[in-house]
Symmetry: C2
């Protein structure tokens, strides 16, 4: 799947992923109104609004953007109905041949980590059948529990040719509280980065590993170091746009081949219609606003990395 | 909810929680057979088997055990049907007045962490309504992202009088890879423990905080230190039984009042019928075997802590 991701990034010349994090406040009123009039102000109504919103955005970007990253928390808060919308979104993206990165940040140990890996990337045994549950292409994973948490994911990645992105240095202001702590003079995130390189060597695609890393756009200096520490890891870079990262901050995350990083934007794309810059589209045409914002983001990043 | 948990532990004189981690291989054949004959070897069939298995165990322990800890990964692997069984289990435990600790190990930042907190402990806004999604009483949370990940949970805990257990030192063999790394001569888990104490001071119940910690039974020496570092945090202790922890290993996790810790056992209770010790019950009576194993665990721990 890492090979497919790299191929799509090359072909579309677009090292970006759109975060499908459909908060209710981003969803245009007409979409909510239609959903609520059919299902009421219920979890089902909210899930329908999310799904219709996502579908419109996907229809407007699938031919120019290689991947989406649905954030499961935004679906999970609507319970079972929300989870159904999450699954429907994944399936629809696959129909449109997009790569799906499940931003699930799961992490546990042993058989429990294996159950998460199976849930999101693999197939579960039921009697003599083996059945996919959510079937994303990649999942994000938390490293705090060490190898016991990661190895079960790697096993499933090998079997299914799927991938993971391990949290190394997150984009938020307080990420340093633990991640930046110095161990023998070097920060914890570097130590995690070294383990990512080690884990990744076990399952390589053509040029990059099935094991990638998450490093926030808001920390370009650290991105530079981590790029060197994990040369074969694709870096998933959140924090562009709304969180403050800009095109030029992203240069250190890429390798010289112009590859090695995929930059996420969520509300900057999916709620572009609400920004002054794209107000001309109006809330009615939020899908077209998202497309324009994606095109502008691609141009910004390709301009910065000279690609 | 921490007050309710402490009250129930005192009243039942049972500082234990039963992990409802229903792996298919633990579920007696007659339960699977009945479910598969109704729904086939499908996700729905698996979910039905899980639910029937859980229900029988709950019916046999609810009057002697204060709390359950369903591990969501074991449900999530069966997709939407699995998640329905998770929710059904929570609701049934509430009917039986048990405290429910959702072992979800979620952790993200800002609005995303808030969405997880809302999903599991709070109520989500849909139009003018506010609706509960999963409605556990406690959730486990991963600290790797720092305060930005924890504060949204604390906000929801304050609003809803619910609680969290933050991973500090996990029970698995490789937990030391990152958690034991020395920072200024002291391990990372101690630093996380200090933050737990700090976060917990913001939302206190009567004697203990709404913010607790997870520390594995397999590391009693570290438990001793952490008990001192976070005197007001309830400690959720996994790793008893199957993972190797015994009654006497648990003494350091308790305060002198005989409180301050709640010890988890999962397969040691729910799959007791498969152990030689409880073979006399037979697979038909797996619920009674679970009850006996819970009684024995309570006696073992109370004996060790002299309570």
């Amino acid at each position: 799947m890492i090979n497919k991701l790299v191929d799509k990034i090359k072909k579309q010349n677009a090292p970006i992923v759109v975060g499908l994090d459909p908060m209710m406040k981003y969803i245009p009123q007409q979409v909510c109104k239609a959903a609520f009039s059919e299902f009421g102000e219920t979890l089902e109504g909210a899930a329908e609004a999310i799904w219709q919103y996502n579908k419109e955005i996907i229809d407007n970007i699938y031919d120019i953007v290689p991947a989406v990253k649905p954030q499961i928390a935004m679906y999970e808060q609507f319970g079972i109905e929300g989870i159904k919308a999450f699954k429907k979104t994944i399936d629809y993206c696959h129909e449109k041949d997009m790569v799906v990165i499940g931003d699930v940040k799961r992490g546990d140990i042993g058989s429990t980590s294996e159950a998460y890996a199976v849930a999101h990337l693999g197939r579960v045994a039921v009697g003599n059948s083996r059945i996919s549950a959510f079937d994303e292409d990649f999942a994000t994973v938390n490293p705090y529990l060490g190898s016991d948490g990661i190895n079960p994911f790697i096993k499933v990645c090998e079997e299914e040719k799927k991938g993971i992105f391990i949290l190394v240095k997150t984009s938020n202001p307080s990420s340093g509280e633990f991640q930046d702590q110095l161990i023998d003079g070097r920060p914890l995130y570097e130590k995690v980065g070294e383990k990512v390189a080690e884990w990744g060597a076990q399952c390589m695609g053509n040029d990059y590993s099935y094991v990638g890393a998450v490093v926030g756009a808001t920390y370009p200096e650290m991105g530079k170091v981590l790029r060197r520490v994990m040369p074969k890891a694709y870096i998933l870079v959140p924090g562009y746009g709304a969180q403050g990262g800009t095109g030029k901050d992203l240069v250190p995350f890429f390798n010289e081949d112009g590859l090695g990083a995929i930059v996420n934007s969520s509300r900057g794309i999916i709620a572009a219609y609400a920004k002054e810059e794209y107000a001309r589209f109006g809330a009615e045409h939020f899908g077209e606003a998202a497309r324009q914002a994606a095109l502008d983001m691609i141009a910004d990043i390709n301009g910065a990395i000279g690609h």
